[in-house]
């Protein structure tokens, strides 16, 4: 327990940034910051403002400008008609709140957004019934489903022309844990589409 945290220390250690981004993991730090937030209007406002910034700027301005940061993933996706390989650079999903809103991947570049259907944002689903469903991005589209841990590590990824995919038992999803998932698509004309990041929890 610590009542001595002040705004200067919060700013110096970047605690609000870590809190808003979901990276403030040390129990002591969370406890100290939340205690400070109870009595500090300025830092409370920064949390609210930072939450909006996070939602609005969840992805880099353009996917082409993404730097090769350690927490980014790259994968190669083969199109149905094209012989050439197309490289997608995917920003690591970092949504902590389970909503459809905060992470807009590629939206600024005009890439169409795929409507994810199931699991619903934040849903708790059993392993037996876990199926990922989304709306078609267009005729002849090829899709890639990616499931990651909350830390952004890919636990399953698979390609298909179908808009429904199941994760095989070999993926070893753990009951009680939350995961993030998203869809990327490649259309026959080379255009790309992507879903927003959603969260689900595997029922115990």
């Amino acid at each position: 327990m610590n009542g001595s945290l002040n705004c200067e220390a919060v700013a110096q250690r970047g605690l609000v940034e870590l809190y808003v981004s979901g990276r403030l993991s040390a129990e002591r730090d969370v406890s100290d910051l939340e205690t400070h937030l109870l009595t500090c209007d300025t830092c409370r406002e920064e949390v609210r403002l930072g939450s909006v910034i996070r939602a609005e700027l969840g992805a880099p301005a353009t996917l082409r400008q993404v730097r090769p940061l350690p927490r980014r993933r790259a994968w190669v996706f083969l199109g149905a008609a094209a012989a050439a390989a197309v490289v997608f650079v995917i920003a690591r999903p970092n949504s902590q709140d389970g909503s459809d809103q905060p992470v807009v991947r590629g939206g600024d570049e005009g890439i169409p957004v795929i409507a994810a259907v199931s699991p619903a944002p934040g849903a708790v689903v059993s392993a037996a019934s876990l199926a990922f469903v989304w709306r078609p991005a267009g005729a002849g589209a090829q899709y890639r489903l990616t499931v990651t841990s909350e830390q952004g590590d890919v636990v399953w990824t698979g390609a298909s022309a179908d808009t429904l995919q199941r994760v095989p038992p070999t993926a070893r999803l753990q009951s009680g844990k939350s995961y993030l998932w998203y869809i990327d698509a490649l259309l026959p004309d080379g255009a790309a589409a992507t879903s927003r990041v959603r969260r689900f929890t595997l029922a115990r």
Partner: protein, 194 residues
């Protein structure tokens, strides 16, 4: 009413008054985790109730520890509510649009649509490097020092850039008449709890 009961009631009343200024902070903590306005109000009420009882019983002994004490109660209450919700959430037997978790939207509870739109407009007026700086701060969770290392700029310059950009957004955030500290959407609020 006996004298003792009356004294006890007065003590609790003054304790409740002393705790009331924690309410905006509790709203932030609860909404951020629970997402739902109703659940958050329940969490705040439970937290304040437990805190009033504790104060009436002489805890915490050090008044300076009251904020940490209340924050600790809030965390326990919120965690209990999250666990309870997980136990009772219907699984996949319900259609997605009737699933309770689809009602949870922490961001829209924390800020109004108007506030968000104003910030979005202000963000559009920032330079691309400043927007990227804020993204690195609040999406990647990097400190100005870490960003400085990544961008190859002096840390002080990064801090100043961040501070200036944030101040412009704060200005936009506070601009509209009627802006106040309450994260709750006003149309979701009832009268004050009695």
């Amino acid at each position: 009413m006996t004298l003792r009961a009356e004294q006890s009631g007065q003590q609790r009343g003054s304790a409740a008054d002393a705790l009331e200024h924690f309410r905006p902070g509790l709203e932030l903590l609860a909404l951020r985790t629970l997402g739902s306005v109703d659940a958050s109000r329940e969490a705040i009420q439970e937290t304040l109730t437990r805190a009033v009882v504790a104060l009436a019983n002489g805890r915490p002994s050090d008044p300076e520890k009251l904020p940490a004490f209340v924050a600790g109660i809030a965390r326990h209450v919120i965690v209990d509510m999250v666990r309870a919700a997980r136990r009772v959430v219907p699984l996949d037997t319900l259609p997605p649009d009737t699933h309770p978790s689809t009602n949870v939207d922490a961001l829209s509870s924390l800020v109004s649509a108007t506030e968000r739109a104003r910030v979005r407009d202000a963000l559009a007026l920032l330079s691309a490097p400043d927007r990227e700086l804020l993204r690195l701060c609040y999406f990647e969770g990097l400190s100005p020092g870490e960003i400085a290392g990544r961008l190859g700029e002096p840390a002080d310059r990064v801090r100043k850039r961040k501070s200036r950009a944030l101040e412009r957004l704060r200005h936009a955030f506070r601009r509209a008449p009627g802006h106040d500290e309450r994260p709750f959407p006003t149309d979701s609020l009832g009268g004050p709890d009695t």
